[in-house]
Symmetry: none
Subunit: 201 residues, 4 copies
DNA sequence: TATGAATGAGATTTCATTCAT
DNA sequence: AATGAATGAAATCTCATTCAT
């Protein structure tokens, strides 16, 4: 990469990082483009070289962060439990993600409304990642490798993702109605129930 | 109520109604206080007699609408199925709310991810409604009347509310991964599964 | 005084006192009529029954406070030094006023630009006090009683009042260039110098 | 200076000049930022690039004008009376400033009670002028050159500045108790008296 | 006399976006 | 590619004043 190219990337990265910090600290509405460029140490005009507006940047960030979150969990699973079955793999990844979010509430607050089926799919299709890293590809692969087969696996997974995202948020952020550690066994039980319910005898 | 008091309430109601229309039509960010007061036919200063700012008004509206949504479903159930058991009652209310939201996507978009445990509880505790109309009071009463008993009923209900709110939103608004009518049987099955799981033998 | 009359005076006094507190705490510009009536515990419309606007109230307050300040000093002098000569009386009153302002910096800040010849004269002519209590009457009386006679006594007094008001403010409020206790001997010396300068041989 | 820099300075100057005109014509309270930017021919936002608010601008203007006033008098003295002694120099500068203010009552009204020790010192220390042009430096230099020496020269000068500022304002603006031309001999006599009083034998 | 809800002009301030350098 | 001064529409919010009760 040429010096110019490196410099470009540095500026862009700086904008990304700064924006993430500000969005999580002050929220999207109260973060101005001036705030971002000031903290990032670039000129105002530079922002518009890379992003259309604040919302464009936010969307790219959500995709990036959701993707990182999932990939980290997935990679750890591959290393840690290379041979586990679908159910164990799913629970492993779920717990990994929930732990990561518990440790990083700013990230949780940022992803908030986006810890959902729609965004997980979008996260991968938006990022210019090779197709083999698409979320649908992942779960299809996992399902294919699985001994156990499921009816309507997409709807099943949809329910699980929404349940975990939604309950996890309330529990981690507000301990309402209960803290996450107490909640986890209930969640795993419900997830297991959903899986069993969809199993093909 | 004196003439002055009546007039006060009319102005406040007008602001509430206008704001709800605008929030659902144009979104919170693009609705200005000027828009609201113009459409409501009151002076700008009047807004500030009743609300701190746009966000204050929004929060009051969410509580109001969530409360109305639940009350309407509950009252219909009382009329329609006065003697149904807990499971049937819960499914009845769930379906009623989902149908209402499907018929009123603007309301759904407005309540968005506030279709959650936290807001349902808040909706009732905030509104200066008699204590007997508190959400917790409702489900406690329903549980007490129920033949069947449940372990950790609050956590059970929490999971159900979050599952339905979260899946319902995605399905109704985006038909992703599937439209709501196709999704419903899956949801009822999962809800039933969660209930069975918590039943005390 | 009838009950109605008493009530009227109470409201007016309450407005006076509250306004003085607010003017000295937050300044004239930042004190609103709403602030005043809220703190005074009267309705907004009531303000306009007694005062034209904020500035009207302020002017009445200045006259009142300046008058009180001088009258207190004068009366103490009459009691304390009934037979002192003009020079001693003037210094006595000066010190008394400076001490009072040092003890009450809020009052000093409020009177600030008005610790001057013009306001002292105005203070008495505005207040509906008997003519014999007019400032000019006071100093004329004191001069007449004095053994020593002065050329251009009004210009002499004018210089003294302005010197003391202006230097006193800077010294008491900011200790700039020196604190008031250190400054006092210098001021008395200058005042004495001015008096001597105007003495008729 | 680059084109951009020149343009910046022009905008700022335009704001300064326009604001001074408006402040003196209509007073600070009745001058709005809209008035200023309209008359100055710049956009509203531009104001906020250079000043925090109206009061920030006013303070900068006071320092600027007080500084100009003194510098003009001082420079004329250097040209006109290069060899005069301290007493004559002081009276020369005093008269020069009083004449300037008499000729420019708008400026006098604007500087008002800021014609004081504090502001004169601040005027120079705030402006990013070379240190040799500091007010303290001026009078220290003049005192050093003087044949005659004085006790506590700072307190002496403080009294003189406050006396002249305060009496000058009342006399020029209101001719109260007497017009400035009649007052001048009295003031010079008092000033001379103060100087003599502080002379070291 | 006293009230205080309502007014609405207008003041302050923000901030996304542009464009000459 | 990068800058940052300038813009000005538009948003928020204030507050003196009125007037029906």
């Amino acid at each position: 990469m040429s010096k110019v190219q490196t410099n470009k990337q540095q500026k862009k990265d700086s904008l990304f990082n700064t924006a993430f910090t500000l969005f999580t600290e002050k929220g999207l509405n109260k973060t101005t483009i001036s705030d971002i460029v000031n903290d990032a140490g670039v000129a105002k005009g530079t922002f518009y070289l890379y992003f259309k507006d604040k919302y464009d940047l936010r969307n790219l960030l959500i995709a990036k962060k959701a993707s990182e979150l999932f990939m980290s969990a997935y990679n750890d699973m591959i290393l840690d439990r290379p041979k586990c079955d679908f159910e164990d793999g799913l629970l492993y990844i779920s717990e990994h993600i929930i732990n990561a979010l518990e440790a990083n509430k700013a990230l949780l607050a940022f992803l908030h409304k986006d810890l959902s089926w729609g965004v997980f799919k979008k996260a991968f299709s938006d990022t210019p990642i090779a197709d083999e890293e698409n979320f649908a590809v992942f779960y299809t692969k996992m399902l294919n490798l699985s001994q156990v087969k499921y009816n309507d696996p997409e709807i099943m997974l949809f329910q699980i993702v929404e349940l975990l995202g939604s309950c996890g948020y309330s529990s981690i952020m507000y301990k309402d109605p209960i803290d996450i550690d107490t909640l986890k066994p209930f969640l795993w039980r419900t997830v297991t129930g959903i899986l069993r319910d969809h199993q093909i005898a």
